[in-house]
Structure formats: C-alpha cells, structure tokens
C-alpha cells in the first residue's frame, strides 16, 4: 500500500515538473524569435557570415551581414553590434545605422547581431528581462536583451579552463564569449567559428576600419572609452578630440598587448584593418544594479549606482538623470560617424562618406523611437506586450 502512495505522489510531482518545464520552456523559446531588421534603401546586398566561413552554414552562429556600397570608390568599414547581446546600445546603434545609412563613397558592412546565439538566452542569476520595447509611432519594436555568452544549448560543456586561439588562459565560461575567441578557429567551437568568420570577412573584404560596439558596467574602469590597437592610435586620438568638441566624452585606452583574444587586439594583429572598440556605460549589466526592469535598460536610472558614484566607486559621472539608452546609442553613433569621416585624412582614397544617419544630438532630443522604422501591428505578441507596458503587470504566474 505504501508503494502505491509513493507512486501517486511521484506521479503528481512528475506532472507538475513537466508543467513547470513546459511553461518555463515556452518563455525560453521566445528568445529564439528574431527581431525584424529593416535595412535602408541604400542596401546593396545582404550576405550571411557563413559566406566567409562555410563551417557556420546552418549553425545558430550564422548571422546576416548588410552591405552598403557607395556609387563612388572609397574605404571599407565594418560595424559590429551585438557581440555581447546584454549590451543593448551596441546592438541598437547597429540597427539604427542599417535602417538609415546611405553610402556615397566606399562600402560599409553592418553586422547587428555578431553573436546571434547570445541573443537566444539570458544570463542565469542576472534577473534581466528577456526583451525590451521601444514604442514607435505605430507599434512597439521589440529587442531582445540577451547574454554576454553563446547559448550553452549551442555550445556545451564549457571546459574548466579555456585556452583561447591566441593562447590566453581564461575561465571556462569565457569559451562562449565572442570577444575572447579571436582570431577564432575554423574547426573550433561555435564561438570560435564565429570569430574566425568575422576575421575572414575583414580579410576578404579588405576592411580598412573595423569598429566593435560594446557597453560596460559603471564600476568597470574601461568605460566611455575608445579602445584602440596601436595602429589605430592616431585615428583614435583625433576622433576622441573631435568627439569631445561635440560634447561626447570618451577616454582613450590602448589595447594591452598581453590581453589576447579580444577584437581590438587580434583584428589588429591578424588583419590590415584599423580596429577600434567603443564602450558606453550600461547600468543594467552591472553588479550593483537595483531592481531589474525594462525601464532600467531604457533609462539607466538606478539608486544604487547613484550611491556608488557618491562613494567614488564609479569610473563615469553619474547623477539622478541616469544614462539612458538613447544617449548611449547617440555616443556610439557620434563616434562611428566621426571614425568614418576621418578615414580620408589618413588616405584620401579611403574616404568613406555616408549620409542619412540621424544626428546624435537629435537622437538624444527626440528619442530612439523617432528614428526606428515604425513597428507593425500584425504581431499579436507585441500588441499584448504593449498592453502590459501601458496597463501594468500580468496576472499571477506570468512567464
């Protein structure tokens, strides 16, 4: 009889476990739905990253590459967003660029989701929302807030010690960090394959300027920064001064030669391109953040960070106005535009002239929503989400 009791309770528990797994699983699967990308009319071709390394074909690491070729010759630039999908300003900036850019001289390549797999999950124990919404004139545009790392569903298990392609020893989880895997390995892990394909793209497309868009937590010293490889030093210094004149404060940081596997280091050592990496200040990825929410991502307002600033623990100025996403995207946009504009000073034949991009100061004034291509109502899920944004919480047991 006792056995029967066990069987019944085991059965009930199993059913509950499956129910839990099913509900949670549905929430996780939602992250696999990609946001729509709406390139500007200046788009000349759309490629896939796997075009540069066939090993990526049909893998979750493959990602679209948008190519904008000007009618006149000039330099060639690569703009990389979404290396770390939990650093939304980089992703949003790349998206804004691909929706507006028109290239006159030269060619611009834009990869908005460099680590496509990282967008399909969120970091355990970080308590972040899975997505955030920007309300355009018609409907909200949805953007995923992913993870710094490749999805373990796509690359697993982590080794206890990761030795990256350049020989640097790192903790195992870093094997899923795209910006530690350069120059990549053709037959390595998924993340190494992505890194390999990006380096291959830079080589094959003869990229002159390669910019990797990032964000960092405010307690991290390399922030509001232009990180440059030695050979990009002069460009970085000039751009930093020009940006300062326009009211965008960036500090200069040279890429340390013994910190290997990072884009600014390995792109510089393995390709002819001028590599640069940009960091803006993102509260929502920090260790000190208070209650997590979509507002935190968008406004960058947080009382604990305010306290940390007062204690002198931060490396950026911070006040009660926060550091909103639109300002961070504006900083990125200003920096990228200035980089592009300055290429001609180094070699007139490398001139890259682009038009159509929103002005950074307008972005700050009018908000990101104004410059994103309006969303469509067709997506039922989005409408439901807007309802939540406008009318508050979902009932008990949401996902």
């Amino acid at each position: 009889m006792k056995n029967k009791g066990y069987l019944i309770s085991a059965g009930i528990l199993l059913v509950l476990a499956f129910l839990w797994a099913g509900l949670a699983g549905r929430a996780f699967l939602k992250m696999f739905r990609e946001e729509s990308l709406r390139p500007s009319s200046g788009l000349t071709s759309k490629k896939m990253l796997s075009d540069y390394a066939s090993v990526l074909t049909n893998t979750p690491g493959d990602t679209p590459v948008f190519v904008y070729e000007g009618s006149k010759k000039g330099g060639r630039a690569l703009i990389l967003g979404g290396t770390h999908p939990n650093e939304p300003a980089g992703h949003i900036t790349a998206v804004l660029m691909l929706e507006h850019i028109k290239v006159q001289n030269g060619t611009v390549f834009i990869i908005p989701r460099a680590n496509n797999s990282g967008f399909t999950h969120s970091d355990p124990q970080e308590g972040n929302p899975q997505e955030f919404f920007l309300k355009t004139s018609t409907a909200a545009r949805r953007f995923r807030f992913g993870s710094r790392l490749t999805n373990p569903v796509h690359q697993w298990p982590d080794p206890s010690l990761y030795i990256n392609p350049s020989g640097q020893k790192l903790s195992g989880a870093e094997s899923r960090n795209l910006n530690r895997c350069y120059p990549g390995r053709e037959h390595g892990t998924l993340t190494e394959k992505i890194a390999f394909a990006i380096v291959r793209l830079i080589q094959e497309e003869k990229i002159d300027l390669a910019v990797d868009l990032h964000e960092a937590a405010l307690e991290y010293p390399v922030i509001n920064a232009i990180v440059f490889h030695e050979k990009s030093a002069e460009l970085a210094a000039i751009v930093q001064m020009e940006l300062q004149a326009e009211g965008f404060e960036f500090r200069l940081e040279v890429s340390p030669p013994n910190l290997r596997g990072l884009s600014h280091r390995e792109w510089g050592d393995f390709t002819p391109a001028f590599p640069l990496l940009l960091e803006t200040a993102n509260v929502s990825q920090g260790r000190l953040k208070g209650k997590t929410s979509q507002e935190l991502i968008l406004t960058g307002k947080d009382k604990f960070y305010l306290r940390a600033f007062e204690l002198g623990r931060l490396f950026v100025p911070y006040d009660s106005r926060g550091i909103p996403l639109k300002n961070r995207a504006a900083s990125h946009l200003a920096a990228v535009s200035t980089f592009l504009a300055n290429m001609a000073f180094f070699a007139p034949e490398k001139k890259i002239h682009v038009t159509g991009l929103p002005r950074p100061e307008d972005l700050i004034k009018n908000g990101l929503e104004t410059y994103l291509v309006p969303g469509s109502f067709s997506d039922r899920d989005q409408v439901r989400k807007i309802h939540i944004i406008l009318h508050g919480q979902m009932p008990l047991f949401s996902r």
Binding site: A27, F28, G127, S160, L161, L170, G172, Y220, D302, P395
Partner: protein, 422 residues
C-alpha cells in the same frame, strides 16, 4: 518594499521553513524565492526561477557524476585495494603520510579548480586510509574538506581568480607563486594540525590486521582503469586543450564510472547510480534552490543592495567587510562570491597589484565552500566518511579556516610589500 526589506523577508521565510517546519533546504529556498518576487511587487515567474537554477547546471552534473564515480570505485574493490596499498607504504611515517595525503586530495582540485571534484575523487580514496590509521572520522572529513578548498585555490587552475580576472580584464598570468605562497603553508599546517596527534604508528602485525582486502592480485592493473582514465582525461584536457577532446568534467567522471564495470569486482551499475543519485539529491536540490534565490535577489535589487552596502564601508572596514562578506556570500556559491563581490573589491583596491589582490581574495572566497547551507566541501566530506550531520565536520574545519582567512586578509593588507618581494 525596499530592497533590504525584500531580502530580509526572503531570509525570514527560508529560516522559518527550514528551521521551524523542517522543510528540506532546497524546497525552502524555492518558497523563499517565490515570496521574494511577490513582496517586491512582481508575479511569480517560472522563467526566472528556472533560469536561476540553471546557473548551477554544470555544478549539479559534476556532483552527480562524481558521486556515481565514487560509488563505482567502492563497489569495484578499487578503493579497498588503494587503501591497502597506502597503509602498507605509510603505516610508519605519519608526517609524510599526512603531507602526501593532503597533496593527493588537492590534486584534482588543482587541475579542475573545483573543490567538489577533489573531495569526491581522491578525498574519497584517502578517507579509509586515514580512518584505519586512527584519525577520527570527523577530523578525516575536515581534512578532506580543507584539502578540497586548498586544491580549488592552488595553481595551476584557480577558477575564482579567473572569474575575478574576467571582470577586470586581467589575464591569468603570474599567479602560481602568490597562490603557492599562501596555500602550501596552509595545506601542510592543516594536515599536520588535524592529523599528527591522532594518526597511530602501528606494528606490522597490527597493520596486517587492519588491512582491507586488496584485489590487486586478482585483477592486476585493470582494477585501476577508472582512476587512470579519469586522471588521464582530466589532465589531458587541462594540459593539452588544443589536441584533447573537450569532454567536460561530468563526461569524464561518467566514462571513468563506466570503465569500472569491467575493471574489478562485479557489481550492479544501475544500483550504484541509484545509490549515488539518492545521496546527491538533497545537495542538488539545495543548489537549484540557491540559484533561484540569487536570481530573485538580483531581480528584486537585493543583490545590488548587498554589494553596495559592503562597498559603502569606510576604508579600514573594507578588509573586515571582505573577511565577512566573501565567505558568507559563498554560502550561495564561492564562484558567485568571486564574481559578485570579488570584482568590486578588486576595483575598490585599484591602487594595488590586481594579480596579488585577486589571489588573496580567492583564498578568502574559497572558504565559501564551507558555509552552510551549500557548504559543498563540508557536505561531501561528511558524506565520504558516512557522517550525516556536516555541521560536526565544520567544527573541526574552524581553526584551519580561520588561519586561511587570516592568511588571505593578511596577504591583502600586505600586498604593497609582497609586491616588492615576489
């Protein structure tokens, strides 16, 4: 409700359920996490609970497979054979015995950076030797637990430092000497302090008497297959990562266990796994619960509140804050402690050499594996010697742990001087 209040409510619910109502710890954590979400004005999100528990997915698999491995080497007769071998070699030399045993315990931890791996592999191997030679069960467990922690901290692989390093962009270079300087005296001191008085020097006849049955004559080297295989794979993966298949620790333990089926005494493999799962289940449940708890702490801002509270301490109190908070946070996980607190602490001491600072912090953070309710090192060491109440083991860990804390903090305070010497 303020973040601090949410945190207090969560802890309150946990304590109430676990202590007053004797609800299993893991389950108590689930309920306290759910309560945390509710009192902070959110609905209960299964997504967040599940996501949090997956933070320990790899650890859970390591523990599960290591437990299976332990059962297999017991049942195949390998454990008895090894014990017999050790006793025969060392029954007259207790100092050397203790030091060798300590190094053996540490070894798997040194190459994997995981104290659990150390405690459950070589820890399990040496436990019967020590007990047979007269060391009380609880002291044996304490020695194994401390050895596991020293192994986790000792070079070449110290995951705690790597985690902190990735938070401040510090390459994992130049750590061997500072880590050895701290860990070696601690390891030697702990082994002798815990064991020297109790280990008996015995006569050969007496030794023969307590010798467990060795199956070496019967099976030969084949008997050692699981052990060889595990060490070969673990070492290969960490020494030649470029050429070696990336299996991961769980698969390595599992392969080792499977090879045990054919290596010695016949036994029921299925029963071994069942047995292992049964023993591991409470701690696995705790880990899943702790993952949820941290997720909800972060979600509700309680984590941010904790970190900023410690960072608000005045400079002189900072060291006290480190000594207190890093092991305490280790109650949820030593790795979590390194990441959540270690990184801000390194940055708070930015004027000092980050390599030395992180090394010292890792020594302090390592103690987290002794902190209830998870107390991974303590719990498994207790299990290895068959003790159900791991608090009894922790009592004997107290003095070595205190020394570990003193050495870690002392190193931290003296960093500017040490910097000039090493």
């Amino acid at each position: 409700m303020s973040e601090a209040a949410v945190f207090l409510v969560m802890v309150g619910v946990f304590v109430l359920l676990a202590m007053a109502f004797k609800v299993p710890i893991g389950i108590s954590l689930v309920f306290s996490s759910a309560t945390g979400m509710l009192v902070s004005g959110r609905s209960i999100s299964l997504r967040h609970l599940t996501e949090g528990s997956f933070g320990y997915f790899d650890t859970i698999l390591i523990i599960l497979t290591a437990m299976i491995f332990m059962k297999v080497i017991q049942m195949s007769g390998l454990l008895d054979t090894l014990t017999a071998f050790f006793i025969q070699v060392f029954y007259r030399k207790k100092g050397r015995l203790l030091l060798v045993v300590m190094l053996l315990i540490m070894f798997p931890g040194m190459i994997t950076g995981s104290s659990t791996t150390a405690v459950l592999s070589t820890g399990a191997l040496v436990a019967p030797v020590l007990i047979k030679l007269g060391l009380p069960r609880l002291k044996t467990a304490a020695l194994i637990a401390m050895g596991g922690i020293f192994g986790m901290v000792a070079p070449p692989v110290n995951i705690l430092v790597m985690i902190m390093g990735s938070g401040v962009d510090m390459p994992y270079v130049g750590l061997t000497v500072p880590l050895l300087v701290m860990v070696l005296p601690l390891a030697a001191g702990t082994a002798l302090w815990l064991g020297y008085k109790d280990i008996n020097i015995i006569s050969e006849t007496k030794m023969r008497h307590i010798l467990p049955p060795s199956l070496y004559q019967k099976f030969g080297l084949r008997l050692f297959l699981p052990l060889f295989l595990v060490f070969f794979l673990l070492l290969g993966e960490s020494l030649f990562p470029r050429f070696f298949p990336r299996l991961g620790i769980p698969a390595i333990f599992l392969l080792g266990s499977l090879s045990g089926i054919f290596s010695g005494k016949r036994f029921n493999f299925f029963a071994a796994t069942q047995n292992a799962v049964q023993e591991a289940m409470p701690i696995l449940c705790i880990l899943a619960g702790v993952g949820m708890f941290i997720q909800v702490m972060t979600l509700t801002g309680a984590r941010g509140w904790t970190v900023i509270s410690f960072l608000s301490l005045p400079p002189l109190w900072l060291y006290a804050g480190i000594a207190l908070s890093m092991p305490l946070f280790g109650a949820v996980s030593a790795f979590g402690s390194a990441s959540i607190l270690g990184v801000p602490f390194i940055l708070a001491m930015i004027g000092k050499n980050a390599v030395l600072t992180s090394a010292a912090l890792s020594v302090v953070a390592g103690l987290g594996d002794l902190m209830p309710p998870t107390a991974l090192a303590g719990i498994f060491a207790a299990q290895v010697v068959g003790e159900s109440n791991y608090f009894k083991v922790l009592r004997f860990c107290l003095v070595p742990a205190l020394f570990e804390l003193i050495i870690g903090i002392g190193f931290l305070v003296l960093t500017p001087y040490i910097d000039k010497v090493i």
